[in-house]
């Protein structure tokens, strides 16, 4: 059997998720044995050529050029999987979706007039069909490994979609919300990080985005009871997954 051709692509992002692939040191040789890495600019200088059995796409769509490129990549790909918060929910750069682009440009860049950008930063799925999404800022290597194995086996990856709380309990971490009234996003956030922050005695920051059906409003009501203002509540979800959390909130009917 021929090794499936895999391509790793990048749009507006920090490259952290691609680096995560390279950080899979123990598994890299296995990946190369199982997959033909045909395009991966972070790791090789192979030029873009041909079609791909599987494309891993990092980054959000932030410029007009990217909008066209992502369609081209989709056309070259049998399957397309997004990796990371930028590709799956627009990234931290999607904060401008709720603000003025010129104001943001001026704040961030010394010569804002040279910046060509769309007024929004949006996930890949807003532009082309996405077969599967790996969430996280950055993605989890175990989840990626599971996805790569599942792809070869033709099965659904065993990547859980439930809340972070479920894994806090697996790890016997006392609930930071209940025992200390910390503003923890765990109850509305997809698990996947290995309970990184609560393990270090810090509340969840929502790196893995809203779980399906997240009851954001109920959690915010709770934060407000604990003394947070509405603005402070919004700041908690306005990070690398701002677009997904806000969308989930609207879908909830608010």
């Amino acid at each position: 059997m021929k090794r499936p051709r895999i391509g790793v692509f990048k749009f507006a992002s920090c490259d952290g998720c691609q680096l995560t692939i390279l950080n899979m040191e123990e598994e890299l040789l296995d990946i190369i044995e199982l997959y033909d890495i045909a395009y991966f600019r972070e790791a090789t200088d192979k030029p873009l050529r041909g079609e791909f059995d599987l494309s891993l796409v990092e980054g959000s769509i932030s410029t007009d050029r990217q909008r066209k490129e992502v369609v081209e990549i989709r056309e070259r790909s049998r399957h397309l999987i997004t990796i990371g918060a930028c590709a799956t929910s627009g990234g931290v750069q999607a904060l401008r979706n709720w603000a003025s682009l010129p104001a943001y440009k001026k704040t961030v860049y010394p010569s804002p007039e040279t910046i060509e950008a769309l007024s929004t930063s949006t996930p890949i799925s807003d532009h082309v069909y996405v077969d599967y999404e790996l969430w996280g800022c950055p993605i989890d290597t175990d989840a990626l490994a599971e996805t790569l194995v599942s792809f070869l086996m033709g099965k659904r990856p065993a990547v859980p979609v439930y809340s972070l709380c479920m894994d806090c309990k697996v790890k016997a971490i006392a609930c930071l919300l209940v025992s200390r009234a910390e503003p923890c996003l765990g109850p509305i956030t997809k698990t996947g990080c290995g309970v990184l922050c609560p393990s270090l005695d810090r509340p969840c920051y929502g790196c893995f985005g809203p779980m399906e059906g997240a009851n954001i409003e109920s959690l915010m009501e709770l934060f407000k009871k604990n003394g947070l203002s509405h603005k402070e509540c919004m700041l908690l979800i306005d990070k690398m997954n701002t677009y997904a959390y806000r969308k989930a909130r609207i879908e909830q009917g608010l």
Binding site: L34, Y162, S179, S218, L222
Partner: protein
């Protein structure tokens, strides 16, 4: 009833409070001792010795709230249940069941070895002995005996304790599952401790329990001691703040499956699954195969991996997702399933209560949903 109970108990002694250490030390000779311990500002269950007991601490629990303070109380068991229960140890949250290897010759399956010393649980409350009895019925006495549970449960020992104080969210008294370890559950409680003001009454109810008590010196418990034990249990019952209309179950649920309250609860429900994870009777789990990239050969000739069983929850979206769709598509349906399973279906399935009134789900629900209040609301006009 009283005389029958006295007959069942083989050994009864009175020991000094500090002599509980002797019990711990004796247990440690042949068991891994799991008991209450302070960690992360809460009482957890973990490998523990006598010195680890959070004696004198008192927890303040409310809906979605838990706080612990050192009140230097006289009682050793001054605290009530924390989030953990025996289930973490007998039905581990992440449990390797077997490993497998598929080759041209076929599939070879190797069950995971459950090695290590048997577990002795110290300080299990009456509520949890009922939950343990339910686990035994499900995992040992059903049509299929669960090998993992069976291996961990075999030779384990339970040192239960009659509660001197209820937790703020406890309602075992109304469920008939506490605060006293009654004869219905002494088959799963090898030894029962009753804390008195200055001593413990220690009662062995199984041969394994009396073997342990054999080597511990004590006095005979007098009628006065037994009277003190009784009055402490009574005062614990009286101090319990919450209750459920147990006599009206399961009909109260069945009559109200379309009650508007479910929709109201769904608005607050976070679906985080915390209630199910801390519940000592919730046993739902999902299995998956973990195959590493190194366990996969591209030629397809070889495949190796492990079957993992992990705690799951009826609040997980994927839990009721089957071919063709999800048969519990709404939050309302999922919450109703959970509560109905606790308070109605389990009893019909296993002839034991599915809720033991420990109140953990009330305390550890970040949204503070209170099962006793929800049940009460179902009684209201529709």
């Amino acid at each position: 009833m009283e005389s029958l109970k006295e007959k069942k108990i083989k050994k009864i002694k009175k020991i000094k409070k500090d002599d509980l250490k002797i019990l711990f030390d004796k247990l440690r000779e042949s068991y891994t001792v799991i008991g209450p311990k302070l960690s992360q500002g809460v009482v957890v269950l973990s490998e523990a010795g006598f010195e680890d007991l959070p004696a004198g601490f008192r927890d303040y629990q409310a809906r979605g709230t838990y706080r612990l303070t050192d009140e230097k109380a006289v009682d050793v068991f001054s605290f009530s249940n924390g989030p953990d229960s025996f289930k973490r140890f007998l039905h581990p949250p992440l449990n390797e069941i077997f490993s497998f290897r598929k080759s041209k010759k076929g599939i070879a399956i190797e069950p995971a070895a459950k090695e290590g010393r048997p577990i002795a649980f110290v300080g299990i409350r009456a509520c949890d002995t009922w939950a343990l009895k339910l686990y035994d019925r499900i995992f040992l006495e059903g049509p299929a005996r669960d090998p993992s549970y069976s291996a961990l449960r075999k030779d384990s020992l339970v040192i239960a304790v009659n509660c001197p104080h209820p937790g703020d969210n406890c309602f075992c008294s109304s469920m008939g599952t506490g605060p006293e370890v009654t004869p219905e559950v002494t088959d799963v409680a090898d030894i029962v401790l009753s804390e008195l003001e200055k001593s413990f009454i220690v009662e062995a109810s199984t041969p394994a329990g009396s073997d342990i008590l054999e080597g511990i010196a004590g006095e005979e418990a007098t009628d006065r001691d037994l009277e003190e034990k009784r009055s402490r249990i009574e005062s614990c019952k009286k101090a319990m703040k919450k209750s459920v209309p147990y006599g009206e179950l399961p009909e109260l649920i069945y009559r109200n499956l379309e009650h508007p309250r479910w929709k109201d609860t769904a608005k607050r429900d976070l679906e985080c699954g915390n209630c199910t994870q801390v519940c000592p009777t919730c046993f739902c789990n999902s299995s998956y195969d973990l195959i590493r990239l190194s366990g996969f050969s591209q030629k397809g000739a070889e495949l190796k991996g492990v079957r993992i069983r992990k705690w799951d929850s009826c609040f997980s979206r994927n839990f009721a997702r089957v071919h063709g769709g999800n048969f519990r598509p709404s939050r309302r349906a999922r919450y109703r399933q959970w509560m109905a399973h606790k308070l109605a279906y389990t009893k019909e399935q296993f002839a034991l209560p599915g809720c033991v009134g420990c109140g953990r789900c009330i305390t550890w629900c970040p949204a503070g949903i209170d099962i006793t209040e929800e049940l009460e609301a179902l009684k209201g006009v529709r």
